[in-house]
Assembly symmetry: C2
Homo-oligomer: 346 residues x 2
DNA sequence: ATTAGCACTCATTAATGATGAGTGCTAATA
DNA sequence: TATTAGCACTCATCATTAATGAGTGCTAAT
């Protein structure tokens, strides 16, 4: 079907042009700037067809066309070309990461800033989830009175910590005893400490210690299973002002307000955790407030397992080729950094 | 001088009116709505005087007047009335704080959100500085290889922690030995560990231990003296869109961009750390980008010592009476919460 | 010293018309 | 039969103009 090829060549041209200019694209523009060897009149006819197919939209009767969300989806699935990011850029990122060895959260934050700098878009990142990881070591540090610091170290070398409050005073010795006990059965955490070791060793503790243990276990579940210590960051929230489609204050405000919510960021980054690179275009987004935006997310890994994700948010006419290339390169670089600095085999 | 009293009564009325409406105030408005017993013509004459004194500004020749920054300064210094915040509000805040016992950072974040909710303004907060505090306890926890978690507990019960990387591998035993040693001379931290104890005990360590110790001390200085673990949060960044003076996109963008910078928040909150309540009006702000805003900050305390600060940012025509009342009430409530949950006498 | 009266200023809004980019349709063409 | 040239038509955008009205400064009367 020669005719179809031509249609999509026109569609492709229109999309590329609109991504670049943010202006509705007319038939003469295509004729002049893209050498398709056909006249504007023919292009007009094809454009009318493409509109019937739901791939183009006309803002008003006598204007050029803009691509629909469906068109972007087709573009992303069939026409998008991913390329390598220049190596000196990656080199700079590596150098930056080296400055944050031992400050995982800072490195993740820096990742957001780099994404923004490279794409001129809002970037979202989340710190690693530990839910899927195996615990290597649990420590309890007595602060004073009934306060203690709980530290969880995973086999992958990720460290999480949180202060916990017990119902009664305790001391260093008591916590040490419980710590030893806890580490004897860390394997039981995923199945509610039902492991054999648990009930056996339980008898070695007196009743007060058992009570404290129960509270500690609750805290561990909170931080480990709910992953209460996972944090999200956004950078470049004001980048949106650079784009003419958001020159309407009300539109910009709506998106901005949405992206300021922690749980929204969390949702966007968690939604597509297991699908590698994920792209949500315009109305594909669950939340109506983001129907004029596209969200590109990707997971980063440790020892081959996804442990967190990063993403960018921009207008639906974002440069998908470039953005996806960048986000791929960044996750790859981050993966490398994590395996270099955290190590720990599965 | 009866004449001066009248002038300032007019000025006061104009400020109150402008704070409420954001519209330039004309002489007839004052005559009708504020019973000053004088005609609009007389008010006009006085207004011309007030303009000569630099207290009023006329946006254009035939418009009403708006207060100058100088007028707000006079208002804040002389006319402002601080009142109590309704007790049920405080009660709600207390209840909320109770949910975050043991999660100091969360409580501070919640404070920002409450400030935003109460004032409809952007709120800024910072977590406690520990620079002025005395260290009670230092712990080193071995993670794996050359990685360790440093935990600092102050006498005031504040806990800070950071991962550190040593230049060579270590183990649990070695770190325990160093920990014992460190705690013997925690008092020396403020004067570079020059204390007598330090050099004496130093001899008890072998050369590798001494090397590790030096690295740990450097890390402690970083987290303790530079207070590398102090965090800042902003909430309600999009509140600015509610105010007509920022309906100009460019203006709003500038302020928004400025308030998104961590170090800007840090600067604003640190600038006036020792002066209790601090109010910066319009061009009194160090940064040109905030010349259309006012910033109200206040310090919160532990055992009578300021350890951090909170603040709000809004248009210069903010309701100073109410805002200052709210921020006073909030610091007081936060102070109480901290002393209740952290305790620890000086 | 105060106020009524009036001419004047200027932002805001609505109405009007010109411009131009871009279309759809028709008839001519290869 | 597919393509293209030609043309009437649509509609957003922009500049111009005029009307409106809030508010002032100044002068003369009280």
């Amino acid at each position: 079907m020669k005719s179809d090829d031509r249609k999509f060549a026109i569609l492709y041209s229109i999309i590329r042009d609109y991504i670049r200019t943010a202006e509705p694209v007319g038939s003469r523009t295509i004729e002049k700037n893209y050498n398709l060897g056909i006249s504007s009149a023919t292009i007009r006819n094809e454009m009318a067809d493409l509109e019937d197919m739901g791939l183009l939209v006309q803002p008003h009767a006598s204007s050029g066309r803009i691509p629909s969300d469906k068109a972007y989806r087709m573009y992303v699935n069939n026409f998008m070309k991913i390329s390598d990011v220049e190596s000196y850029v990656i080199e700079n990122v590596r150098t930056l990461y080296d400055k944050y060895v031992g400050q995982l959260n800072k490195a993740i934050e820096a990742t957001a800033e780099i994404l923004t700098k490279l794409t001129n878009l809002t970037a979202l990142v989340m710190t690693p989830h530990i839910t899927q990881m195996d615990i290597k070591d649990i420590r309890l540090i007595h602060i004073e009175g009934e306060r203690a610091l709980l530290v969880i170290i995973t086999k992958q070398g990720i460290v999480k910590n949180a202060e916990i409050r017990l119902n009664s005073k305790t001391d260093k010795k008591q916590l040490e005893k419980i710590t030893v006990f806890l580490n004897m059965c860390v394997d039981g955490i995923n199945n509610d400490f039902e492991a054999e070791n648990f009930s056996i060793a339980m008898e070695a503790l007196n009743s007060q210690e058992q009570r404290i243990l129960a509270e500690v276990v609750a805290a561990i579940k909170n931080i480990y299973q709910q992953d209460a210590d996972t944090k999200v960051y956004a950078s470049g929230l004001t980048e949106i002002f650079k784009y003419p489609e958001f020159k309407d204050m009300e539109k910009a405000r709506k998106v901005l307000e949405t992206l300021h919510k922690q749980d929204m960021i969390s949702y966007l980054l968690t939604e597509a955790m297991d699908s590698g690179i994920n792209i949500k275009i315009g109305n594909e987004n669950t939340f109506e407030e983001l129907n004029d935006c596209s969200v590109v997310t990707a997971t980063y890994k440790l020892n081959g397992r996804p442990i967190g994700s990063i993403g960018i948010v921009g207008p639906t006419r974002m440069d998908y080729d470039y953005c996806v290339s960048v986000i791929k390169a960044m996750t790859k670089t981050l993966d490398k950094h994590l395996s270099d600095t955290l190590g720990g085999k599965d």
